[in-house]
Amino acid sequence: MSLVIYIAVMAGVTYFIRMIPFAAFRRQIKSRFFRSFLYYVPYAVLTAMTIPAIFYSTGSMATAAFGTAVAVVLAYFDMPLIVVALAASAAAFSAGYFYSLF
């Protein structure tokens, strides 16, 4: 088995999945149902990727839950993406440090 072929297969399949729909859909889609569906897709995909995966993202459910809570609160108050992202990480880190004291 060749490393070069492995990487070519990985990269090729991944690229074609992205490219084919991108190149094929040229016109505005007319169907109201399909347009509504596409409008909701981003939120549906992001949520499905985040929950419950976020609770396993730091190696400890407790620190991840704390980080998640901080992210939700800051996002609710319309904080910029980078602020929410780094604050959640800092919260998870602090929670981990706090637990390590006991």
Binding site: R26, M49, A92
Partner: protein, 237 residues
């Protein structure tokens, strides 16, 4: 007035920072599976996908078949196809075929998320900025992880694992406050995703995301069809 490219670069900075931490982990993993730092960076630069790459190096390490490699990538990354269809509706009129072929390379979860949250149509230059800075972060993190991963304390690398998910939360919550449709879709997607994770465990992670997203978006489209003005505000301004 900032140029679209510069705006893309600036919008891509949070993605690049998140990618630094995630691809750092990938770099560590790749070296542990017996790959060199150079090969790890080549994989990152040519694939630009987290879950797909992690599965890919596992298959390489196990000496799996090329067919298995192709099918695994197809399943894990099929969600990009859905994202591509969605983004294809948001491209401005200057998006000719070469530009589409180029930008298609950079459709990742995070780039898709930031691009679809933009008001109005997307220009190629904006996408170039967004994709180039994100790719730089992804490859740099891979290189650092592959060459120096063992130097950082675990407590820090663990905490960095939440960065990208927190960014998703920051993208989803504001529209959830404003739209009952988005709220319903989000709740449905979360419930479906948990059902797949804890009850229908035979469904792989990639398919679980696709199924959850399709079910939630179909329910949203049936129960809360988007009015033209509302949609215009998001996709055509």
């Amino acid at each position: 007035m900032k140029s679209p490219f510069v705006k893309g670069v600036l919008d891509g900075v949070p993605i690049a920072l998140g990618y630094l931490s995630v691809s750092f982990g990938f770099g560590i993993l790749a070296v542990r599976s017996g790959l060199t730092s150079l090969v790890s960076v080549i994989i990152s630069a040519s694939n630009l996908t987290s879950a797909g790459q992690a599965a890919g190096i596992a298959i390489i390490a196990a000496g799996g078949s090329y067919l298995e490699m192709a099918l695994t990538q197809l399943i894990i990354n099929l969600r990009y196809g859905l994202m591509s269809i969605s983004l294809s509706q948001k491209l401005d009129s200057t998006f000719n075929s070469p530009r589409r072929l180029l930008v298609a390379y950079g459709i990742t979860d995070e780039i898709f998320a930031v691009a679809s949250a933009q008001k109005g149509l997307l220009t190629a230059r904006y996408m170039y900025g967004l994709i180039s800075v994100s790719t730089l972060g992804w490859c740099t993190g891979t290189f650092l992880g592959a060459s120096a991963g063992q130097l950082l304390p675990t407590s820090l690398t663990n905490a960095m694992g939440i960065v990208l998910y927190a960014m998703f939360i920051a993208i989803v919550i504001p529209p959830v406050k404003k739209s009952r449709g988005v709220l319903a879709v989000t709740a449905t997607a979360a419930i479906c995703s948990m059902i797949f994770k804890y009850l229908l465990t035979q469904v792989s992670g990639g398919f679980a995301i696709i199924f959850s997203a399709i079910i939630a978006a179909v329910i949203g489209a049936l129960v809360f069809p988007v009015a033209d003005e509302e949609e215009t505000e998001v996709t055509e301004q």
